[in-house]
Symmetry: C2
Subunit: 252 residues, 2 copies
């Protein structure tokens, strides 16, 4: 704990976590959260109650390889000491990948320009054992070509309210998706990657649920355009489960 007063600093961290055991990013009164775990570790290191600002919330069970956050504090510690200290104090399912000094006005949420999410599906007859908390298992064969044909309908600047769950305050439901693709990987793996200037609540999971409905033949590719234009949440597919979702990286 620093004994002499020190100037205020701002640090940016890139965080990896296994969301399985957490009630999401956001600090909770009782339940474990990623933000809460980070703030607790920082309190032990600095003796201060700090707020860690994430680039956005992730839901319960959702993972991250590159969540970004920042925190301001008065400390004589540098980024390397903070990185090592945090990684030794944090639980094993949360790790700090990088820590950097940033200008005092940097804010992980307000300054985020693009976010990229990955959604992993395992498409094979039998359930996974190793990846049971890491993928959405779909046992019926998915028509990848049909799913790919739906992608152009979710790229671009649109009102995405048909793919939003209610509950988060937002001034607009218009978002710009600049990239969305689907690829096979390994034995039955199917990876959806989507990049946008922001996501509405449950947007990636609702998009994935809708794409899977297309892959199963319940919707046509063209209907995804109709659903998006309708703005009607009830017409889109059910939300995909959280365990297949990963926040990959955030661009500033």
């Amino acid at each position: 704990m620093p004994q002499r007063p020190s100037t205020e600093k701002n640090f940016r961290i890139v965080v990896e976590y296994d969301g399985t055991a957490y009630h999401g990013w956001q600090r909770q009164k009782q339940d474990p959260s990623i933000q809460g775990a980070l703030e607790q570790a920082l309190a032990r290191m600095t003796g201060q109650r700090l707020t860690v600002n994430g680039s956005g919330r992730t839901d319960a069970g959702v993972h991250a390889l590159g969540q970004v956050a920042n925190f301001r504090c008065r400390t004589r510690l540098g980024p390397v000491e903070l990185l090592k200290g945090l990684n030794s104090l944090l639980p094993a399912d949360i790790a700090i990948r990088t820590c950097d000094s940033v200008p005092l006005d940097f804010h992980a949420r307000f300054d985020a320009r693009w976010k990229c999410y990955q959604y992993r599906v395992l498409n094979r007859p039998v359930r996974p054992a190793l990846d049971r908390h890491r993928v959405w298992h779909i046992y019926r064969p998915l028509d990848l070509a049909a799913m790919r044909a739906a992608l152009p309908h979710i790229i671009g600047t649109h009102d995405f309210r048909a793919f939003e769950n209610t509950g988060s305050p937002r001034s607009t439901t218009v978002r710009t998706v600049r990239q969305a693709d689907l690829r096979r990987e390994g034995d039955g793996g199917l990876i959806f990657e989507v990049s946008a200037n922001g996501f509405l609540k449950f947007m990636v999971r609702n998009l994935m649920g809708t794409l899977v409905a297309v892959g199963l033949g319940r919707l046509t590719s063209q209907e995804v355009e109709v659903i998006r234009q309708s703005g009607d949440r009830r017409r889109a597919g059910a939300a995909a489960p959280p365990e297949g979702l990963y926040l990959l990286h955030v661009t500033y």
Copy 2:
């Protein structure tokens, strides 16, 4: 439970498991094991106490994507019913990938011709959060070229006793390694894949530990040949931890 007597059948299963929670493949008196879990599920399905023969034992914490086993039983159930029944009864960290009827004389251990293991290392400065039970984390940079230069010394038909831990009965310590390679994968991933007509106790983990010693500059590539020829276990690297090891497939 079948009421009428039925002819004896033999089934071959391919099993995937997350070894984290198990004391290895082999049935134990108290501790959970993969073999024990399979035999318990089969006892519930068939009402019989059966023995499940694995292609070989895996150690505590070791995973499998394609362990092979067989069991003989008197049942009117077919392979599809067994597959579905087992997958509904087994814990979530064990899954049956395929189940087939095989001739009565098929034996998963005695008939195995080649086994292929994968060992996964994560080589980056900070510890993993998502893959903490799935890789060996090495934070110092590994010299992949030096490690690759050591591979020819472990390929071929040789006495591998320098890479064996004592404890398992075996008539010979000569094995034929027909393939061994190392590749980078993703962000810091390093994958060692090795295929042989059989492995001595801890052989893959001792080989990996030795290759990592080369990658860290503690041994030269050429010394791996000297160590193998010496037959002296104390000269090889320490065993790599179990959580990076995966039994990939077995060939008959």
